[in-house]
């Protein structure tokens, strides 16, 4: 039973990361209808920026996270302007392929800039706390708390502010949003900024638990796609719920079935779910 609860905590921490990454992905999909295959690369770049700010420039961990979030928001905007905006009237296929191009560019660029070796980001929260008799790494707790806070913050932003409402309106109907006077250009940029910033935030949180390398985003990226498909593409609660669900399935599946296959579980779930519900779990079929 201790094993179960310990794994539950692990699953929730992992789910928090998955959720944050998937949130950014689903936001861009919902608003701009772009499946951004480069999202995992943004996550990876976010981890490197945190690393550079913290280790090379000696900023504190928290400060470094802030820098990474801001820089990535900028990169997100640039990506929207340079790559996706020119393609907004092109077939969907073209944006997808362009995103693949961006992904490869960012990975190669990261290797050029920071080398291929694994990097380690130290965190001031390196201790362990005992929670209900279970030893839990402080960093893992931080991941959970910070991720949940950001998720709540984001949903408040979308529900309670006019800018947030504009994003939601555009997600529903881009042409309609333009008609009611929403600056769709600005919203598109903002969406990309938020999406990339979320990826950076997730990466900065998880980096001290793992290692930073140019390919670190690949696995997370694929998982995030699985999550938003399961949660319904464009659905924000779907991404959060899907993130936690997938992480728990992975961790518990790894525990009680086979750890070798745990990395494949996500895709097996995806294939099975879509076979029966071609539009995802939480969407209403039309």
């Amino acid at each position: 039973m201790t094993l179960f609860f310990q794994q539950l905590v692990n699953g929730i921490a992992l789910g928090s990361i998955y959720g944050l990454v998937a949130l950014g992905l689903t936001l861009v999909y919902g608003v701009l209808k772009i499946p951004n295959f480069a999202h995992g690369a943004l996550y990876m770049v976010g981890a490197y920026i945190t690393f550079v700010a913290a280790v090379v420039y000696g900023m504190g961990y928290i400060g470094a996270i802030a820098v990474a979030v801001i820089v990535l928001a900028g990169i997100g905007v640039a990506l929207e302007r340079v790559v996706f905006n020119p393609l907004r009237h092109a077939p969907r296929l073209h944006s997808m392929i362009a995103a693949l191009g961006v992904l490869l560019f960012l990975e190669a660029g990261a290797q050029l800039a920071w080398g291929a070796e694994f990097r380690r980001l130290p965190s001031p929260f390196s201790g362990t706390v005992v929670l209900f008799g279970l030893p839990v790494a402080t960093q893992r707790l931080l991941v959970i708390v910070a991720a949940v806070a950001v998720m709540i913050g984001l949903s408040l932003f979308l529900k309670r502010t006019t800018t947030g409402a504009a994003i939601e309106a555009m997600a529903q109907d881009r042409a309609g949003a333009l008609l009611v006077g929403i600056d769709t250009r600005k919203i598109a940029m903002l969406t990309f900024a938020i999406s990339a910033a979320l990826a950076a935030f997730a990466a900065a949180l998880v980096a001290p638990l793992n290692l930073i390398s140019p390919t670190m985003g690949e696995a997370v990226n694929l998982k995030a796609f699985v999550i938003i498909i399961l949660g319904g593409m464009g659905s924000i609660p779907g991404a959060v719920v899907g993130g936690y669900l997938l992480a728990l399935v992975e961790v518990l599946g790894g525990t009680y079935i086979s750890s070798s296959f745990s990395q494949l579980i996500a895709f097996a779930v995806l294939v099975v779910v879509l076979a029966f519900r071609p539009t995802g779990l939480f969407t209403r079929g039309v």
């Binding site: 699953g11 921490a13 291929a116 380690r120 790494a137 638990l209 793992n210 390919t215 690949e218 961790v251």
Partner: protein, 402 residues
């Protein structure tokens, strides 16, 4: 459409004609000194790029030394070496393409490949014309099992580690073994060997929780699982850095036992990430910098001069450096830079004759099967110090010498 059919018929005719054509080619010369290209196909991008770079550094270092000293003469002609590196992203099929390219474009008599997939993929090519000597850097015994007459296997084979590693840790910590290595076939083969040996020595093997060290986002899950069985010793291993993280995570969750660390992970690299105290009770490859022999000390010093203090002279750097020197020596002894068979024939003698300062390790023999061997020493970390555990020498192809 008639024309297309005719063209296809014509094409078929040319197939038969073309199949009979032949090719011929010969080596190249430079002014005064002969230039010999040394080939390398390994990962220079992707997840294993750092590893590949280490191998290249070892080779570069040896080649620079050889060229600077200018003391390799083949048939009374000075020889200059040039390293040609190609990226195969750790993909064996790319290695095969690269080897073709090296042979055709650079006419390399020797090619270094530092991963077992690539090695096994290109071994059959080495004996087809144009032949080449394959310098294999991987500890997988299957490289020798292929009985390829043009292979030089550089590192010690990993199955020699099982018995001493198991013996040392079981005695020190107890007989319950947890299994948490990386999920590559290399990792699985290691796990199989260690668990078999563990049972043979009367220990109990717990559940297998191997995970992919390269793609797992958070190791907490498998770590928790492994500890749930209350192991005394845990088998870990994969690339050094994630291995260190796993050790760290295990310690964080309160584990106090020992570790068997696969030879892919290097203690010196792990210590860059976690303190040595967390590695207490681990057996693994002896860190190069802890050796005190003349050859090693000199090598380490020259390495730091060349690549800076932050970079570590790991065994893949040292062994490939070593391998390159042996190959050059063998060329001199064989009196040819172009005949791989002849070079291969002189490897044993070359290893014996090589001067001490070019030997980072005390290996002095190349076996009939083409394996560089010698006195292999491994490390057991006890009370924060490296304790040496010698590995018995093998005689020929069979099991370890009893």
């Amino acid at each position: 459409m008639i024309s297309s059919h005719r063209l296809l018929a014509l094409g078929l005719i040319v197939v038969t004609v073309g199949a009979c054509s032949d090719e011929a080619s010969e080596g190249t010369d430079a002014d005064g000194t002969e230039v010999v290209n040394i080939g390398f196909s390994g990962p220079l991008s992707g997840g294993a790029a750092f590893y590949g770079q280490n191998v290249v550094n070892g080779l570069t270092m040896a080649i620079d030394e050889l060229n600077q000293a200018g003391d390799i003469e083949v048939n009374e002609q000075a020889v200059r070496f040039e390293l040609v590196t190609l990226d195969d992203r750790y993909l064996p099929n790319e290695s095969a393409t690269n080897v073709r390219r090296l042979l055709q474009q650079s006419r390399t008599p020797v090619i270094f490949v530092p991963h077992v997939g690539g090695i096994l993929a290109v071994q059959p090519m080495s004996v087809r014309p144009p032949e080449f000597l394959l310098s294999a850097y991987s500890s997988d015994p299957r490289i020798l099992e292929a009985a390829n007459p043009l292979t030089l296997m550089i590192p010690p084979r990993y199955d020699g580690y099982f018995e001493p590693f198991v013996g040392a840790t079981m005695e020190a910590y107890g007989n319950r073994l947890g299994v948490l290595p990386t999920n590559t076939s290399y990792g699985r083969a290691w796990a199989e060997g260690v668990t078999e040996e563990w049972r043979r020595q009367g220990g109990e093997v717990l559940g297998d929780h191997s995970v992919d060290y390269n793609t797992t986002t958070d190791f907490a899950g498998p770590v928790t699982q492994t500890l749930a069985d209350a192991p005394d010793v845990i088998l870990v291993g994969g690339p050094s850095q994630p291995t260190a993280l796993i050790v760290h995570a295990l310690r964080q969750q309160g584990y106090e036992g020992g570790f068997i660390v696969m030879d892919q992970a290097k203690f010196e690299e792990m210590e860059q990430i976690i303190p040595r105290t967390e590695l207490e009770g681990s057996v693994g490859v002896y860190p190069l910098e802890a050796y005190t022999s003349v050859g090693t000390v000199g090598f380490v010093e020259r390495f730091h001069e060349k690549f800076g203090r932050e970079r570590l002279p790991t065994s893949e750097v040292a062994l490939n450096y070593f391998g390159m020197h042996i190959v050059a020596q063998a060329m001199e002894l064989a009196g040819t830079v172009a005949d791989p068979q002849a070079i291969r024939g002189q490897l044993t003698e070359a290893a014996r004759q090589l001067s001490e300062d070019r030997k980072p390790y005390e290996y002095d023999t190349v076996t009939k099967e083409g394996h560089l061997t010698g006195d292999v020493v491994t490390a057991f970390i006890q009370n924060g110090e490296y304790t040496a555990i010698p590995i018995p020498r093998r005689s020929g192809r069979g099991a370890p010498v009893e």
